[in-house]
C-alpha cells in the first residue's frame, strides 16, 4: 500500500534493530530483559513484543552485562528482576548505571516497601510488581524519553540538576558543582551543547537519541585515576583530567560524570574520615588526615594525626623524619605507606620526608609528633624522603592536603626505603591510594598489581574502583619490598584514617611489601622501601600501625609477601575492595588482624615484624575493615576472589600467628582508636 510517509512503511514493516523510527516511537524500543525465572522471562518477552518493542532476553545478569558492554548503544532500556541467583538485581542496576547509563526498571514479586525503596535509592527508573501486566510495559518508553530529555537539558543548561533522572544526572549536576570550583563549571554546557545540539531535534521528537556510552574499562579508569592523582583531587577537573588522559573520543562530559561517581565512591570509602576532614570530594583531603600517615609510626598516632589531619605537611614531615630517624631501619616504611597514599594524592609535596629517615617507625615519639603534628616537617624534608632513591616514583610525596598527606609523604620519604605502603595507608584516604598506584605504577612494575588495579578500576562501582587501583599499586610497591606482610602493617596505619579505606588498602599492601622485604626493589620499588626494612629492624610500632593497614593490602597482592603476609594483604585488598566485607573489623581495633598476619610472619624483614604488626595491624586492620565497610565497595571486579570469608580467615589465622605485636617495629599495638575518625 502506498503510504505517504515512507517512515510509516518502514516502521510498520520491518524495523530493524536499532532503528527506531522517530515518528513511530516507541516502536522498536530496544529492551533487554533479565530474569532468572524462565516462565516470567517468556511472558515478558511476549508482552514486549506485543508492544512492538525489540526484545532481548537474558536469564543471567552476567550475560546481560556482557551484552550491554559489547553493544554499547544497542539498548534503550533494561528491565531486571531483583532476586537473581548470580547477581543481585540492584548490583546489576548499579553496574548499568555506572557503565552504560541506561534507564533500568526493576521488577519483583516482592512488593514490600523497603525493597521498592531500595530500587529508588539505587536509581531505578521504575519498579514493577509481578505479575507484570502488559499495560505496565506499554509505557516504559516514557522513561527513556524522560531520561534523554533530562540529560539534554542538563547538558545545555547550567546543571539545572535534573534530579529526577536518577543518579547520573544528579551526579552530573553535582559534578558540575564541584568542578565549578575548578573552573569546569560549564563544561557540561560547552561540551554537551555541541553534542546535544545535533541531537536536539531528535530528542524533541522521540528521544531515540542515543548518546554514545563510554565504557570505563579498567585501563581507561586507571588512566583516569592517574590523571586525577596527578592533578590532585582538589584540582581534578574534568577538563584537565581529559587533557591528561588524552583519550580520543572521550568527552569532558564523560569524564565529569565519571569523576562524579568516583568522588562519591571515595567519599563512601572515607566515610567518617571524610567528615572529619571535611573533605568533600577530595580523596586526598580526608584520608590524609585520618591516616595520619606519620602516625603510622605508632599506629595510634596515625589516628591522632589523622584527626589532626591538618597537620601541616611540614610537621608531618618532620615527624616522619624523626620517626624515620629513629627507626633507622625500616621504620620508614610506615611512612612510605602512608605517604604514598598521601603523596600521591597530594600535589604538594610538602611532605617530602627526609629520606631515609626510617625513623618513622621507630619512635613513639615520632608518633607523638604526629599527633601533635605540626612538627616541623618541612617540605624539604619530605622531599628528601622522597628521594629519588625511593622508588616511589610517582609517589609524589607531596602531601597536599592535610598533614596526613604530609605524613604520608614524610613517611614516604623517610622510609625511602620503607615501604611506601605506609604512605598509602596513612594519609590518603582513598584518594591517595589512587594516586599511588599511578605513580607507583610508573615506578613499579606494577607487578602483580596491575591486575589488581585493573580489577579495581573495573569495578568502578563508584569511585571505588579508582581506589582500588591505588591499592594495587601499592601492592606493587609493596612487592618491591617483597617481603613480607610487614608491609601490610604499614598500611594499616593508613587505615586508621578511615577515609582512605581503600587507600589504606593499597598502602598497606605496599607498605608491607616494602617493609617486609628490603623493599628496595624487590619489585623494583625504589629504595624507599628500605625504610621498611629499617623499620623492621627497629621496633617502631607506630608506623606499622598504619602500615599494617596498607600493607595488608599489599600483602595480598604481592605474592612475595611471605606466607601469611601475602595472604593478609590479599585479604585486605579484598576487604578493601569489598569494603563491606570486613566483618568485624572495626577500625580501631581488630583490624590489625587480617592485615598483619602477613607481616608477622617471618620472613619479613624487619618490617612489621609479625608481632608488631599485630598490634598495629590490629588497628589497621580495624581501620581497614572499617574502610572497607565504609566503602561498601561492591566492586565486583576487584578480585573478590579472596572473598571476605577467605580474608577473614586468613587474617585471623595470621593474627594468631602474629602474636602480640612486638615492637620490633615499635608497634605498641596502638589502636586506631586514637585516630580521630
Amino acid at each position: 500500500m502506498n503510504i505517504g510517509s515512507g517512515s510509516v512503511l518502514s516502521s510498520t514493516g520491518s524495523w530493524k534493530s536499532g532503528d527506531v523510527v522517530p515518528d513511530q516511537f516507541p516502536v522498536g524500543l530496544r529492551v533487554l530483559v533479565v530474569d532468572d525465572d524462565p516462565t516470567c522471562l517468556k511472558i515478558l518477552e511476549k508482552m514486549l513484543k506485543n508492544c512492538h518493542y525489540e526484545v532481548t532476553k537474558c536469564n543471567r545478569a552476567e550475560v546481560a552485562l556482557s551484552h550491554l558492554r559489547e553493544n554499547k548503544n544497542g539498548f534503550d532500556i533494561v528491565i531486571s528482576d531483583v532476586h537473581m541467583p548470580d547477581m543481585d538485581g540492584f548490583k546489576l542496576l548499579e553496574h548499568i548505571g555506572l557503565e552504560m547509563d541506561l534507564p533500568v526498571i526493576m521488577m519483583s514479586a516482592d512488593d514490600s516497601k523497603d525493597v521498592v525503596m531500595k530500587g529508588v535509592t539505587h536509581g531505578a527508573y521504575d519498579y514493577l510488581i509481578k505479575p507484570v501486566r502488559i499495560e505496565a510495559l506499554k509505557n516504559i518508553w516514557q522513561h527513556v524519553v524522560r531520561k534523554k530529555k533530562h540529560e539534554w537539558r542538563d547538558n545545555n543548561f547550567d546543571q539545572s540538576g535534573s534530579v529526577e533522572e536518577g543518579d547520573r544526572q544528579q551526579k552530573q549536576s553535582e559534578d558540575v558543582d564541584y568542578s565549578s570550583s575548578a573552573n569546569e563549571g560549564n563544561w557540561k554546557n560547552s561540551k554537551k551543547r555541541k553534542e546535544e545540539d545535533d541531537e536536539g531535534e531528535e530528542r524533541d521528537d522521540t528521544s531515540s537519541l542515543k548518546k554514545p556510552r563510554v565504557v570505563w574499562s579498567v585501563e581507561l579508569h586507571q588512566q583516569f585515576v592517574q590523571a586525577v592523582h596527578q592533578l590532585g583531587i582538589d584540582k581534578a577537573v574534568p577538563k584537565k583530567i581529559l587533557e591528561l588522559m588524552n583519550v580520543p573520543g572521550l568527552t569532558r562530559e564523560n569524564v565529569a560524570s565519571h569523576l562524579q561517581k568516583y568522588r562519591l565512591y571515595l567519599r563512601r570509602l572515607s566515610g567518617v574520615s571524610q567528615h572529619q576532614n571535611g573533605l568533600n570530594n577530595s580523596f586526598m583531603g580526608r584520608p590524609d588526615a585520618t591516616f595520619g600517615t606519620i602516625s603510622s609510626l605508632n599506629g595510634l598516632d596515625l589516628q591522632a594525626i589523622a584527626a589532626a589531619g591538618q597537620i601541616p605537611a611540614q610537621s608531618l614531615a618532620t615527624l616522619q623524619a624523626a620517626a624515620l630517624g629513629r627507626s633507622a631501619s625500616k621504620s620508614a616504611i610506615s611512612m612510605p605507606l602512608v605517604d604514598q597514599r598521601n603523596l600521591f594524592s597530594f600535589e604538594n609535596s610538602q611532605v617530602r620526608f627526609p629520606e631515609g629517615q626510617q625513623q618513622l617507625n621507630n619512635s613513639n615519639k615520632q608518633i607523638d609528633l604526629l599527633h601533635g603534628i605540626p612538627t616541623t616537617m618541612e617540605p624539604k624534608q619530605l622531599a628528601n624522603l622522597h628521594h629519588p632513591s625511593q622508588s616511589f616514583m610517582g609517589m609524589n610525596m607531596q602531601v597536599n592536603n592535610s598533614m596526613a598527606q604530609h605524613n604520608n609523604s614524610v613517611i614516604m620519604r623517610m622510609s625511602q626505603s620503607q615501604p611506601r605502603a605506609q604512605m598509602l595507608s596513612g594519609a590518603n584516604n582513598g584518594s591517595q591510594i589512587s594516586r599511588l598506584p599511578f605513580s607507583r605504577q610508573q615506578s613499579l612494575s606494577s607487578e602483580g598489581i596491575p591486575g589488581v588495579v585493573l580489577a579495581q578500576s573495573r569495578t568502578v562501582d563508584n569511585a571505588r574502583a579508582s581506589v582500588y587501583n591505588p591499592v594495587s599499586q601499592a601492592s606493587s610497591m609493596v612487592d618491591f619490598s617483597v617481603n613480607q606482610s610487614k608491609d601490610l602493617q604499614n598500611y594499616n596505619f593508613s587505615l586508621g584514617s578511615n577515609s582512605a579505606g581503600m587507600s589504606t588498602l593499597t598502602n598497606r599492601g605496599m607498605l608491607q611489601e616494602e617493609v617486609n622485604s628490603d623493599i628496595k626493589g624487590s619489585r623494583g620499588f625504589p629504595s624507599n622501601y628500605d625504610i621498611f626494612n629499617d623499620l623492621h629492624q627497629q621496633p617502631k610500632p607506630q608506623n606499622w600501625g598504619l602500615q599494617n593497614v596498607g600493607s595488608s593490602f599489599d600483602s595480598s597482592h604481592h605474592p612475595s609477601i611471605q606466607g601469611s603476609q601475602g595472604v593478609p594483604s590479599q585479604l585486605l585488598m579484598q576487604q578493601g575492595i569489598s569494603s563491606t566485607h570486613n566483618n568485624g573489623q572495626n577500625r580501631n581495633g581488630p583490624i590489625g588482624k587480617p592485615m598483619y598476619t602477613n607481616g608477622e610472619e617471618s620472613g619479613h624483614t624487619n618490617l612489621m615484624g609479625g608481632p608488631q604488626l599485630n598490634s598495629v595491624s590490629r588497628n589497621t586492620l580495624a581501620v581497614k575493615a572499617e574502610r572497607f565497610l565504609d566503602a561498601d565497595y561492591q566492586s565486583t571486579n576487584f578480585p573478590e576472589q579472596f572473598g571476605q570469608d577467605d580474608l577473614m580467615s586468613a587474617f585471623l589465622k595470621q593474627q594468631g600467628s602474629v602474636g602480640p605485636v612486638e615492637t620490633e617495629f615499635g608497634f605498641d599495638g596502638y589502636t586506631l582508636d586514637n585516630l580521630p575518625v
Binding site: 516462565t39 516470567c40 517468556k42 514479586a109
Partner: protein
C-alpha cells in the same frame, strides 16, 4: 464428540477454574497474548511453569530436609515460585507461597513442611486442571473447531 459440545465443555471448564480460584486474571492475560504469530504461547508458558515449579518443589523438599534448615534459601525458592505462579495466574499456588513465606520468616520448620505439602497439592491440582484444559483445546482443534475465547 462434536465441536460445539467440545467448545461448550471448554468454556465451562475454564469458567470453573476461574471461579474456584485456580486461575486468575493473569491467565487471561496470557491468553490474550497468544496470537497467530505464537499460537501455542499459553501451552509453552505453562509447560515452562511446570518444569520450573517441579524443580523448585524438589529444591524446597531438600532444603527442608536438612538438619539445619537454611530458611533464607527456602525463602528464596518460595519467592521464586511465587513469582512464576503469579505470572501464569496459578492463584492458589501463589497464595500458598505467601503463607509459606510467613512460615519461613518465623523459621518454623514444622509449619514450613506443612506449607510445602499444601503447595505440592495445589500445584498438582492446577497442573491437572490445565492439562485437562489443553487436552480439550486439542480435541476442539482436532475436531476442526476454534478455541473459544473465555473472558
Amino acid at each position: 464428540m462434536e465441536v460445539g459440545q467440545l467448545q461448550r465443555s471448554f468454556v465451562e471448564y475454564m469458567a470453573s477454574l476461574f471461579r474456584e480460584g485456580f486461575l486468575d486474571g493473569q491467565f487471561s492475560q496470557l491468553q490474550q497474548l497468544q496470537d497467530d504469530s505464537n499460537p501455542e504461547f499459553v501451552v509453552e508458558v505453562v509447560s515452562l511453569f511446570f518444569e520450573d515449579s517441579e524443580r523448585l518443589l524438589n529444591d524446597l523438599t531438600m532444603a527442608l530436609d536438612q538438619p539445619n534448615v537454611d530458611f533464607k534459601q527456602v525463602d528464596a525458592h518460595v519467592h521464586q515460585l511465587k513469582g512464576s505462579s503469579s505470572s501464569v495466574g496459578a492463584q492458589r499456588v501463589k497464595n500458598c507461597c505467601v503463607l509459606f513465606r510467613n512460615c519461613c520468616e518465623e523459621q518454623n520448620t514444622e509449619a514450613c513442611l506443612r506449607c510445602l505439602q499444601q503447595i505440592k497439592q495445589e500445584y498438582l491440582l492446577v497442573k491437572n486442571k490445565l492439562q485437562t484444559l489443553f487436552e480439550l483445546e486439542q480435541q476442539i482443534v482436532a475436531a476442526g473447531g476454534a478455541i473459544p475465547m473465555v473472558q
